[in-house]
Symmetry: C2
Subunit: 527 residues, 2 copies
């Protein structure tokens, strides 16, 4: 059994905190030694990706201390416990099994007599069979016509991850003749969200996926009612247009309101559910289950690397350690995720949930307050768009914001245009390379308004192309990074008690059981 | 002439910094006194909006000190100088005239013999005439058919603001029978961005707007080539499908490549250009010029309030002052913008540019380094979506993040559904009311994992409905808030030198004129 200790009680952390040694990026990246560093500070990731940390403020001395921290913190042992089925989510007394949706890293995990890997793959097989029938027209609308559109109704983890993954692969799928159905998403309880989506689809040819683990999510049930109204008004039977993704114990599981129900369980947190039936149904319907399988394979490969004990061979662990160094030793407050791929437009929004909901906490896994910073604010937009937006602050603002770039050598569609001697894809790559060096090395100017201090750290994940495999690898990398950071901070990264109070108060407002300030706010909002 | 001084040299600021007086939100919001505070701490904004700051950590004492700061910093006088045509953008030696696109607050501003208000309104009249002809089918495609879609090609300020405004009004326009053309946007140099948009439109019925003030923006010219290829391949004449929005001196201005050209000038920064021809062309084509006029009226009304010297009657000035108090005295590092309206989905991304590019700086307007924090990191997503994502960190994370909520009493489409005794719109409003109180007041629990400390500040802008007028008012509020914060921090909020270095290095990469680390990064990215 690994020992769960607060970060600031670890000797390796104390050594790190006591060290005054710092790395000046302008020095270490200068000249040909800088080029060598760029080559050397690079760890292979799964599916042809690589994690390059040459522009992070680390060197052999700091990496050595981080490796000692990884060892003392027993990161590899804790992950092993997790994937072998220990009750890592202590607050909710749950196992943490999302890795099992894409592979088996250790022992079979049996819970209530069920082999969980078999359960998850079984659901995926059911989804694959269902999707194939939809694509073949065997499951079709009342007029015998094929469904052409799929709409996911869900919020939080039932929305952000699957939506980001769909957007990430939509162009790739179109270019590779496997965009089998268009996908749309309804999430917000704002009625205009559902109205907006319903305005742009033909409900007669649309299959809706209701996604709620508990079957009680306010937003999702409300939006289901919206959709049922729309179907009924169009003279259609809602139960012939809807499927459910839920837990076996939910009220949705056995309802005749749905064509079919596919299952997840309490051991997969919403923000980690993209590789479960939550992502599986919509992605298998949109792209075919073989594409979803490739996505799972990519994630499984990344998980295997995450199981290695040596952080220099484990990119997720190394990324986590450097992030903790930046947050707790260097004192940086937020992190920007900057994919140079328009297809990853919503990937930062998904990571925002995955990271901030997992590690945005102030008490450790035993419910005791911690005296050190935990998860940072995370934000981001695709490059080059961000360059024409908030990069001003990143380059010259008062706070240093660590950056996570992502870039690919090839675009997804294979279509490009050559202008002034280079393709758009080359321009995109040139920009991300230039930004890394501009942030790290800066440029002196006597006019301080045009001066760049440099010393602003970044890492980059580089791959050939954003494919189902590399997307799965990328997703799992960040999931595992977040998990390792939770281990380092001694948090329970798998509950989210911070979302409860708002729900309780909102119910009170709707029941008109309020007084004081809350009543007044509710009045102002016309409740 | 106003005196431009660093924030930390002002007596009022020193008094604020020396004061140990703090407001405990749990105390001031308790009981019926809390309800009174919610009523009282509310300033009318333009077009029926109100800025409520009852859950900010201020009271009469702090507000008094902030008012003194506003006076000593001569905020009203500086704004007056700005709108009367002083050279406020000192770095680039430019006037700052975006307010003139929507109204005339002071003296006529004449530059090079041109009345600038007349120039901007003249361009808007030309756009209105052009849009009317497109809508009437007088300007049409080669087959004599109407254009049905408009695509804006631009990046940064030519993209984020116009796109956010279009999304904000799309459902409203559909519900009010004034969605005259669908609008799409191409921004990123990533070739897949253009391919993706071109895949979803019928180019034969599409009008493209090329937006670049200089006429030299890399991304925009590259994407123009993409679009021209697509038009040519479809057997169409690109010059009959494209218009330009640019400056009169740009190479695009007199090109026969375009059906028409509409002008802005150097006195309108990209991030402040939504009310100029940059937003005017696409929004007038999409919704009709009368809708765009209503949007301008809303912004003009907000500007009038911003001209008032008393911060207690000037919501933008008050918002700015409270923000500086939070950033410089209370030490909060980032800000979240949380609109409870799906239509404002991209409004935070626009504000991210407007705010971070304006005030993410470390030198004052005289090029001297400042010793205090300036613009914060800004991020946000619509509620209730965010509640199921990053709110965990906002409620229970180690850092306090000030929050800017936005909410409306009515939705835009008028379509809603009643579930469990309330409409979706009421549920939306109940949630934002509940969140404000949950953040401010918290809830004690012996299980610290379920404990909420409270004391987390927020403000809310509340309105009846998101309409062209209220959207204009909302936009101008934030533009003016950012301007006032720039005045307080003694920054030039209207240049963006921080974006230059990356551009220079990217050109070098494309020309293969690199060595060391930059060459190595470029190699890795396949350049």
């Amino acid at each position: 059994m690994a020992g769960w200790k607060n970060l600031d009680t670890l000797e390796a952390y104390r050594a790190l905190a006591a060290s005054e040694h710092r790395v000046d990026l302008r020095e270490v990246l200068a000249g040909e030694a800088g080029a060598e560093r760029v080559k050397k500070y690079c760890v292979p990731m799964a599916c042809g990706l690589a994690y390059n940390y040459a522009s992070k403020q680390v060197d052999e001395e700091i990496l050595g201390m981080l490796a000692a921290l990884a060892e003392e913190s027993e990161l590899a042992g804790k992950f092993e416990e997790l994937y072998n089925g220990a009750m890592i989510n202590t607050g909710e007394k749950r196992l943490v099994l999302h890795h099992l949706t894409r592979g088996q890293l250790g022992d079979p995990v049996v819970s209530d007599g069920v082999d969980k890997r078999a359960f998850y793959t079984g659901e995926q097989a059911k989804i694959a069979e269902f999707a194939a029938k939809v694509h073949a027209g065997e499951i079709c609308n009342a007029a015998g016509e094929k469904f052409t559109t799929v709409v996911q109704i869900g919020i939080g983890g039932s929305d952000l991850g699957p939506r980001a993954m769909y957007i990430a692969l939509e162009n790739w799928a179109r270019a590779n003749d496997c965009l089998l159905m268009d996908a749309k998403f309804i999430s917000n309880v704002d009625p205009d969200d559902a109205v907006s989506v319903l305005n742009t689809i033909d409900v007669a040819h649309t299959l809706f996926i209701l996604v709620s683990k508990s079957g009680t999510t306010l937003e999702t049930l409300t939006n289901e009612a919206f959709v049922k109204n729309a179907l009924t008004e169009a003279g259609l039977d809602p139960s012939c247009h809807m499927i459910a993704v839920t837990s076996e114990t939910s009220p949705l599981a056995s309802s005749s309101d749905y064509l079919a129900a596919f299952f997840m369980d309490d051991y997969i947190g919403g923000r980690y559910s993209s590789t479960s039936a939550v992502g599986g149904a919509v992605l298998s319907l949109a792209f075919g289950s073989d594409v979803f399988d490739r996505f799972l394979c990519g994630a499984a490969e990344a998980d295997k690397l995450a199981a290695l004990a040596d952080p220099m061979k484990n990119p997720a662990m190394l990324d986590a350690l450097i992030g903790v160094y930046e947050r707790n030793i260097l004192g940086y407050e937020s992190t920007a995720v900057l994919p140079y791929a328009q297809a990853l437009a919503r990937f930062p929004a998904h990571l925002q949930q995955a990271d901030m909901e997992s590690n945005g906490k102030s008490v450790n896994r035993f419910g005791e307050p911690v005296d050190y910073k935990t998860g940072p604010v995370l934000f981001g937009e695709p490059g080059t768009n961000g360059q024409h937006s908030f990069y001003q602050l990143l380059h010259q603002g008062k706070d240093i914001v660590p950056l996570q770039f992502i870039g690919f050598r090839e675009n997804q569609t294979g279509i490009d245009v050559d202008i002034q001697g280079s393709t758009s894809q080359k321009k995109l790559g040139a920009n991300v390379a230039a930004q890394i060096v501009a942030f790290a090395c800066g440029k002196e100017d006597d006019n301080l308004n045009k001066n760049f201090d440099g010393g602003r750290p970044s890492s980059i994940i580089i791959g050939d192309q954003l494919t189902p495999e590399s997307l799965g690898s990328l997703l799992a990398h960040f999931e595992n990074k977040i998990m390792f950071q939770g281990f380092l901070w001694n948090l329970n990264s798998f509950d989210q008690e911070g979302v409860q109070l708002g729900k309780v108060l909102a119910k009170r407002v709707l029941a008109h059981e309020t007084d004081g300030a809350l009543r007044e706010y509710a009045d102002m909002l016309g409740i």
